[in-house]
Subunit: 491 residues, 2 copies
């Protein structure tokens, strides 16, 4: 039987916690020296009150011990908690000095919590500090949320082939931490550690502390929100330290499976950092794409030195492939090859179990393995062929899960693009906005949604479609789609 | 052991037969009243001689009985024969009055034999009749070739899920014609019948006999080559009979599974024409898309009556979804929704076992069935769920085949689009040319490859990439890709 009580209880607790977190940007606003910015504290205070009452009320009404959560309750809980956190997180943004409609605030909160990084806010340079911090915090929470989910929830739900990571997290034979809560705390500690390290590096190399704080949160979360309208390029003046390389390093850290960091720390399994098939594949892909883009950049800007070309190439490749979406330059101007290149690689994503977005590289590895087995079967129908991933055999069940994921991913992308075209967006904008939303990248292509543009001028319905795409992409599609399928609701 | 002898023998015979066929356009040129056109006979004479000698020589050198063809030899034979037929079919086009380079002629012949319909020929209105007929004949041969292959070869090779049609063709329990040769002849007779019917209809309703002949061949083949630069719109002057509706009808006929026509004729199983799951699905999709586009057309042209809107909508929907690619109007001007809409539907295709192109509707049906089973398994992990297609159970093996097909289709499409961008094509042109080639549609979007454009101005390498894409798409990808995989060549 499907029981809603645990769903309401957990979601209520999470919303309540979100309300408490709103006190941080509230305090930041109160400490502001600018009178207009100071007045923004009220938005967060009201938001906090609403969250604590609504969340706390829901939790209190459904209070009681939770013995077990079924698969179906797990899906409902995951979808409901992410959606409701966005709904409530949007409240202070809509009430405050950013002067957003609730729909715009919802879009911004969704873009934040899903670590997408598309923004409807114009004038970030003059925005109240509380609102800026809240945007960064949302991405940061979203990042750690997805890391914990990819470790503890998605493998159990068998979403899109994630079951191949199951035993890693829960196998009794290697249960080096006894229960899920401890796991989550340990993962969060690693996440905090990298964020602090990123903050210190940025600060030490000359970024103002406030900007370093915000950017460290949105970098490790591979989110991409910035405190400036010019994004990261505002800090890349000539003569400054190559802050973009620091950011690149931490975007890559954010795209690696945090579970492997945990294993390394707790069991001394440092070697797995280098022997893990997913990490090897991801870093190889990044290296190849960087070299490719470096050549393109060198042919484009003839007087550029090799190191500068490398910086430009690796930063943009990593920013897009990990779904971060920071901009230092408008690569729209790099010609059609670069445009097509960046459009394609944004779907790739990082490793499963990281904060990164997109389809995730392990799915490409599984798909390639499936194709290899399939090609062998076609050529030698009587042979028996078994593929392996990190030493474990891959079954047809996993192949169907992963290949279905690709199919639904493209179908969702195409549907979104056609719907956006129907709302009057031109083809390039519709395609890239749809792709950028479902892959949680942030910027698309063209004047409106490109790195130099802003999503605020899009029609309301387009913003809703994109917000839905972000949620679908972040929760690996099936977590949401299963709930929408009739099969789910049949006894 | 892999034996090349049967491959060379069959390919040689086919090339030899192609040479004999070149005598038809040769005679047409000789009968021409125009002196310049008459001189074009020599191109076909030379082509015929080369084909008969090269093909006949190959066949003679490898003559002998063929007892059995292994799976691997089947793949080689299929790929080699299609590629070599294109190589030889291009010869008269490159020698004749069209003044094409051999590469352009190769592109044109590939576009013909794969029933794509993209053209590099400018000035069709003044082209020699032999060359025009040869283009139409290539599409017509390509059409019947793919029908026979989809019935007799692809299911046995298990390409991209085609194994689900296997028993239909070869099951001993319903072997209503004993062997493959008879099958092929029977299918060809049906094909000829529909072509004649199409010719008579077009002729009776006012299209000149010569144009009716050519268009009937390229319509039933869902190819899309025309005798006019203005394509079919040259014959749609006001007051004329609605020739486009006749063409629409026969494009739909060409997109239905010919095996079912055969069963209907031979066993009186007429009811299957209406109960077949694939036909039902295809016609429903066409109906829904037509209604959708009708509304778009009606909002676009406010003074248009409902019947004209229906004509315009159904013609363009059918022309694109079946991969024919005739143009009556430039739908590029219908706004971004129509552009996105036509871009997406060109991938859908018609039924397996027809002359139509694209991914084929049965694959969407199988993918939807796979997703349905997958969603049920996610929600109810202990249940047992079986999907069926036309009453037969679908196994995980079929799911993997079909979903792999989608994956490779998109990967090939994306790779082609990026390569084309690298050659300097703008994003829209690169995307639509790549899609149009792999889906064997013909026209793309934009000024160069759009319905109003011409492929001749593309760089040579782009033409080669597109030609490769056409062959991949026509042979359902895996027929070619398997041969390129290392697994194929390992003992």
């Amino acid at each position: 039987m499907l029981s809603f009580r645990p769903v309401v209880l957990v979601t209520g607790v999470l919303v309540c916690a979100l309300g408490v977190m709103m006190l941080i940007p509230m305090c930041v606003d109160l400490l502001s020296t600018d009178e207009v910015h100071r007045a923004d504290w009220a938005a967060f205070a009201i938001g906090a009150i609403i969250c604590v009452f609504a969340g706390g009320g829901g939790a209190a009404a459904s209070w009681g011990p939770i013995n077990q959560i079924s698969r179906r309750e797990g899906f409902l809980l995951t979808a409901a908690s992410w959606l409701l956190l966005v709904v409530f997180a949007a409240i202070p943004l809509s009430l405050g000095g950013l002067e957003l409609s609730y729909l715009d605030a919802f879009f911004e909160a969704m873009s934040g919590l899903t670590t997408t990084g598309s923004t409807v806010v114009t004038g970030l340079d003059d925005a109240p500090p509380g609102a800026l911090l809240w945007r960064s915090m949302l991405q940061w929470f979203g990042g750690v949320g997805i890391v914990i989910m990819a470790f503890a929830v998605l493998p159990a739900l068998k979403v899109g082939g994630m079951q191949i990571f199951k035993s890693e997290a829960w196998d009794t034979s290697e249960k080096f931490i006894a229960n899920a809560a401890q796991y989550s705390i340990a993962l969060s500690m690693i996440y905090v550690f990298f964020t602090v390290l990123c903050f210190l590096s940025l600060w030490a190399f000359g970024m103002p502390a406030w900007d370093a704080l915000n950017h460290s949160m949105t970098t490790v979360a591979t989110g991409g929100f910035s405190t400036r309208d010019a994004s990261l390029s505002a800090f890349l003046t000539v003569g400054r330290a190559p802050l973009d390389l620091i950011v690149t390093f931490f975007m890559i850290i954010g795209s690696l499976p945090f579970g492997i960091f945990l294993a390394a720390l707790l069991r001394g399994a440092w070697r797995r950092l280098f022997s893990d098939s997913q990490i090897q594949f991801f870093l190889s892909v990044v290296a190849i794409l960087t070299i490719l883009m470096m050549f393109r950049v060198l042919t484009l800007f003839e007087d550029m030195d090799v190191f500068s070309a490398f910086r430009l190439a690796i930063f943009n490749v990593v920013s897009i492939i990990t779904g971060t979406g920071y901009a230092t330059t408008d690569y729209n101007a790099w010609g059609p090859f670069a445009v097509g290149f960046f459009f394609c690689i944004m779907f790739i994503g990082g490793c499963a179990g990281s904060t990164s977005c997109g389809m995730k590289v392990f799915r490409f590895q599984v798909a390639l393995a499936a194709l290899n087995v399939y090609a062998r079967r076609l050529a030698h129908p009587n042979g028996v062929f078994v593929a392996r991933y990190n030493g474990r055999p891959l079954t047809d069940d996993v192949f169907v899960s992963v290949l279905s994921f690709f199919f639904v991913y493209f179908a969702t992308f195409a549907t979104m693009a056609v719907l956006l075209s129907g709302l009057g967006l031109d083809t390039l904008t519709a395609l890239s906005a749809a792709g950028s939303a479902i892959a949680n990248v942030g910027p698309g292509l063209g004047d409106i949604v490109g790195p130099a543009g802003n999503f605020s001028s899009l029609p309301d319905l387009a913003k809703l479609i994109l917000a839905a795409g972000m949620l679908l992409g972040r929760l690996e599609l099936f977590t949401i789609l299963v709930i929408l399928s009739p099969a789910f609701w049949r006894g």
